[in-house]
C-alpha cells in the first residue's frame, strides 16, 4: 500500500540543519494498522506528512499504491485524495458548517453531485455519532466532536489509507475515548491506518505493528506484544519506562 525507501527529510533554517527523517524504509500493507511512537521531535509528524506529500522529500522514495511521490511528474492532488489525514488541531474549515466541511472536497475534488455528497456526508456523520450537528459550525462543537468530524471529512473522500497525527493530543481527557473508539471501529473495518500517538493503550489494543522512531531514525519495529514486552533497543526501553 505505502512503501518508503530511504526516506529523508532535512530542514535547513537559520544556519541549522535538522535531519527530521533520516533514512526510513518501511512497508505498510493493505489493511494494516501501524502505530508510530517516539519522543517529541523525533520526526514522527514529518514522516507522516511525507506519506501524503505535505512535505517535499529531500531524498528517498515514497510509493503510494505503486506511484512514486518523489517523481516530479506525479500529480500530488491525485495521491492526496486517496490518503486521508487527521491532524492534532482538527483543522476543520471554520467558515463552513459541519455538513459543508464534508461536502466541499467531495464536490470539488471527487466531482460528486451535491445530493450524493450530502448523502455520503450524512452516513459518515451518523457513523462517527454526530448526525445531529450537521448544521452547526465547528466552533460550536467540543474538541472531541470536532475531531470526529475531521475523521468523517477525511473518510468522505473514500481514502485507501488514513494518516493520524496525534489525533487525541489536543483533547481534554474525557473526550479522548470517543475519538479512539471511532478509530478502533475503522481499524476493525479493515482500514489501512498509520497513527502517530502517545496512547499506548490504543497501540497495544489495535496496532498490528509498532514503529519506534528517535532522531529521525526507525529504531525498532515489531508487533505490540514484542515491542511492549521485550523491546531490544536501549532507547526504546528508556522511552517505554518514561511513558508507561
Amino acid at each position: 500500500m505505502i512503501k518508503t525507501v530511504d526516506l529523508e527529510k532535512i530542514f535547513v533554517g537559520r544556519g541549522q540543519t535538522v535531519r527530521a527523517v533520516d533514512g526510513i524504509t518501511t512497508h505498510i500493507k493493505q489493511g494494516e494498522v501501524v502505530v508510530v511512537i517516539g519522543p517529541s521531535g523525533s520526526g514522527k509528524s514529518t514522516y507522516l506528512r511525507c506519506l501524503n506529500g505535505l512535505e517535499t522529500l529531500t531524498g528517498g522514495h515514497v510509493h503510494v499504491d505503486g506511484i512514486d511521490l518523489a517523481n516530479r511528474k506525479t500529480d500530488m492532488n491525485k495521491i492526496r485524495r486517496e490518503v486521508g489525514m487527521v491532524f492534532q488541531q482538527f483543522n476543520l474549515f471554520p467558515h463552513k458548517t459541519v455538513l459543508e466541511n464534508l461536502v466541499l472536497a467531495q464536490m470539488k475534488v471527487r466531482k460528486r453531485k451535491r445530493i450524493d455528497a450530502e448523502k455520503k456526508a450524512r452516513e459518515l456523520l451518523e457513523k462517527v455519532g454526530i448526525a445531529e450537528k450537521e448544521t452547526n459550525y465547528p466552533s460550536q462543537l467540543s474538541g472531541g466532536q470536532q475531531q470526529r468530524v475531521a475523521i468523517a471529512r477525511a473518510l468522505a473522500m473514500d481514502p485507501k489509507v488514513m494518516l493520524f497525527d496525534e489525533p487525541t493530543s489536543a483533547l481534554d481527557p474525557e473526550m479522548v475515548g470517543e475519538v479512539l473508539e471511532v478509530m478502533k471501529q475503522l481499524a476493525r473495518e479493515g482500514m489501512t491506518m498509520v497513527v502517530v500517538t502517545h496512547e499506548m493503550g490504543f497501540a497495544r489494543e489495535v496496532a498490528d505493528r509498532v514503529l519506534f522512531m528517535d532522531y529521525g531514525k526507525l529504531v525498532e519495529e515489531g508487533t505490540p506484544e514484542h515491542f511492549f514486552i521485550e523491546p531490544q533497543e536501549e532507547r526504546a526501553k528508556l522511552f517505554l519506562r518514561q511513558v508507561l
Binding site: L54, R80, N91, F93, P94, K96, A150, A154, M157
Partner: protein
C-alpha cells in the same frame, strides 16, 4: 451605572452646543451673513422651458389635458401652431392676440443641481475605483504571498512605489503623463489613479489576511486533494476576507474621501461642484459645510453596510 449615564450624555451635548455657539459668535464678529436659503436650489431646481411664438397670431383653442394644455395659435401666415405646455404656466384666453416673441407657456421640470450631480460623480468614481482597486489588490496580495520570486518582487515594488508617494502627485502623473501617452481621458485617469492607489493598500491588507489564516487550513485542504487555487478560493480567501473586512472598509472609506482630490484634474465631483457653486453664491461657509455633510453621508452609509455584512458573516464564530 446606567442612571449616571444621562449626566454624561448631557455633558456631551452641552460641549457640542458650546462649540457650535462659539463658532456662531465667531462668524457674527466677522459680519458673515448666513444664506442657507440659497443652498437648496443647488440640490434641485425647477427648470423652465419657455415656449414663445415665432410670428404674430391669435389663440384659437386651449385644450386642457390634466396638467398639460395644448394651445393652438393661428398665425398671420394662416397656419396653426400647436404648443404643449404645463397648465399652471398658461396665462391666456381664447382670442388673445399674441405678438412675435410673446410667451405662450412653459414646461416645468425638476432638475438635479450641481451638488447632486457632483455627489453622484463622487459616488460612482469611488465605487468604480473601489472595485478595480479590490481586484488589483487581491491579485497583488496573492502575488505577494506566492512562491514565485519575480511575482513577489514585482508586487513589492508596486506597493512601495504607491505607498511612498502622495496621491496628489500620482494623480498628476496619471493625468499629465499617462493620460497623454496612453491617450485616456481625465475621468479614466482619475479613476485608475484612485484604483491603483487603493490597490496597493488593499494588497497589504489581503496579504496580512491570508497570512493570518493558520497553516493547518491550507494543509487540510491540500490533504483532501484540493489544488492550490481551489484551496485559496474555497478555504483561505473566504476566511481572509472575513478578517480583512474591517480594514478593507476603512480603506474604501478613505478612498471616498481621497476621491475629492480628482477635482484638481477638473473632474466635476462633489468637491469641484462645491467650489463652482461658491463662485456664484458666495455662500462659502454653508456650501463647504454641506459638502462635508454629503461626504459624511457616503462614508457613514458604507460603514453601516459593512457592519451589516460583518454581522451576517459572524454566524460561524
Amino acid at each position: 451605572m446606567n442612571t449616571k449615564n444621562w449626566l454624561w450624555w448631557l455633558l456631551t451635548i452641552l460641549v457640542l452646543l458650546g462649540i457650535v455657539l462659539g463658532l456662531w459668535v465667531a462668524t457674527k464678529r466677522i459680519d458673515y451673513t448666513w444664506r442657507w436659503n440659497r443652498v437648496p436650489q443647488y440640490f434641485f431646481y425647477q427648470d423652465k422651458d419657455v415656449k414663445k411664438t415665432v410670428i404674430d397670431g391669435t389663440v384659437t383653442k386651449i385644450e386642457q389635458k390634466g396638467k398639460t394644455s395644448i394651445i393652438t395659435v393661428h398665425n398671420s401666415d394662416n397656419e396653426d401652431n400647436v404648443f404643449i405646455v404645463d397648465t399652471e404656466t398658461v396665462n391666456l384666453d381664447v382670442d388673445d392676440y399674441l405678438m412675435e416673441d410673446d410667451t405662450v407657456g412653459a414646461i416645468l421640470d425638476w432638475k438635479a443641481g450641481p451638488l447632486v450631480t457632483g455627489l453622484w460623480v463622487t459616488l460612482w468614481i469611488s465605487a468604480l475605483a473601489s472595485i478595480i482597486g479590490l481586484v488589483i489588490g487581491v491579485v497583488t496580495g496573492l502575488c505577494r504571498v506566492s512562491k514565485n520570486l519575480t511575482l513577489r518582487q514585482l508586487s513589492i515594488t508596486y506597493i512601495e512605489l504607491i505607498r511612498g508617494t502622495p496621491l496628489l502627485v500620482q494623480l498628476f502623473i496619471f493625468y499629465f503623463f499617462l493620460g497623454t501617452v496612453l491617450d485616456i481621458g481625465r475621468l479614466a485617469s482619475g479613476i485608475f489613479a484612485l484604483a491603483i492607489f487603493a490597490g496597493a493598500y488593499v494588497a497589504e491588507i489581503i496579504r496580512a489576511g491570508i497570512q493570518s489564516i493558520p497553516k493547518g487550513q491550507m494543509e487540510a485542504a491540500r490533504s483532501l486533494g484540493m489544488n492550490v487555487p481551489q484551496a485559496m478560493i474555497y478555504i483561505i480567501l473566504p476566511q481572509a476576507f472575513k478578517r480583512t473586512l474591517p480594514p478593507l472598509a476603512g480603506q474604501f472609506i478613505s478612498l471616498i474621501k481621497d476621491s475629492s482630490l480628482v477635482s484638481v484634474i477638473a473632474i466635476t465631483d462633489l468637491t469641484k461642484s462645491g467650489r463652482e457653486v461658491i463662485t456664484s453664491t458666495f455662500a462659502v461657509f454653508e456650501i463647504w459645510f454641506v459638502v462635508a455633510f454629503l461626504y459624511l453621508i457616503l462614508t457613514f452609509s458604507l460603514s453601516q453596510v459593512v457592519a451589516w455584512v460583518e454581522r451576517r458573516l459572524a454566524v460561524s464564530d
